[in-house]
């Protein structure tokens, strides 16, 4: 029994744990933050950019980035470094467009941000 546990169960459980860690990104990104999850900010930001509520959009973006930093801590072990960096860089560019009150640029960056987010863990 001990031999079975040592040579079969423990290695199989370890491999299973590794598989879960390596594929946890898609699940964890939607879990962290609850109602304040990063994806919940996208419709708000889109509405605010459409109605040119720039101050509100900037505040929401800051809150989203703060939430994103929490998400990164958990998904960094399963995701591509370039994709994580890409999200941060796109968010920074979006902030620039919001500050400059450039509606077209802000839309483009927000859509890229959504796409990058959706691709995480896939």
């Amino acid at each position: 029994m001990i031999k079975f546990l040592l040579y079969k169960i423990i290695p199989a459980a370890t491999l299973l744990l590794f598989i879960l860690i390596m594929n946890s990104g898609d699940y964890l990104k939607g879990l962290i933050g609850g109602e304040n999850n990063v994806s919940n900010y996208f419709p708000d930001l889109k509405r605010e950019i459409a109605s040119k509520q720039w101050t509100k959009a900037e505040a929401d973006l800051v809150r989203m980035e703060s939430n994103w930093r929490q998400v990164v801590k958990w998904i960094q072990f399963s995701e591509e470094r370039d994709q994580l960096n890409n999200f941060q860089h796109t968010a920074a560019r979006l902030q620039g467009y919001i500050i400059a009150q450039d509606q077209a640029g802000a839309y483009a960056e927000l859509e890229e941000l959504k796409e990058t987010w959706n691709d995480l863990g896939r």
């Binding site: 491999l15 390596m22 960094q76 072990f77 399963s78 591509e80 470094r81 370039d82 994580l84």
Partner: protein
Amino acid sequence: MNEGLIVLIRGIIAFITLLIFTRILGKQQVTQLTFFDYILGITIGSIAASLTTDLSSRAWPHWVGLATWTGSVFVLQWITMRSRAIAKYLNGEPVVLIMNGKIMENALRKIRFTVDELLEQLRHEQIFDLGKIEFAVLETTGKISILLKSQFAPLTPSDIKIATNYQGITTELIYDGVIIEENLKRVNLDRDWLDSQLKSLKIKSPGEVFLATLNTEGKLYVDKYDDHITAMINLSDFPNIK
């Protein structure tokens, strides 16, 4: 994002995965590996290295690659265990290089093996005179097996009809100062016997012993921590290095 931490976690995943996968593949020694096995080993190791440090892609695809290669090797091992024909087809066959004392030039040419390489391999096997060889076979592992002519073969006890005792595997009784009770039981001996043996060697406790083994003739080999050697032979080329 903490890259150092990511590499640490991915390194642990790769290390333990590789450990488990290599245990699954078995205990083939490096000297027993065929050329293909050798390449497989390098490839699997390379994938594990990428899994650890290549942060530009997710860990999962690397892990799948690692599992795929290991799985392929496992399947190949399974097939070759069950079919001698497939095993020979995949691993190749031994080639006779010297037969009845004569070098097989065509065989050498076929496997692109030079006479110099043959002589070098023979020298590795302590053969400096080709005239002593009856057969030389190149194994699939790349090593040469040699059968000497009967007049040059080493004399064995059976040649001169001398009776010999059975020789089996020695059993470890003490390792690193600790008695291995399970092994003592296995050879039908007990603690009192061991204590009396140690006492006869002027050893007060098993803690003084680094290694004690018992051979099948019942002889006890004991190596103490204190070897009473004051001047070690120094093999270093550099002065003052002990």
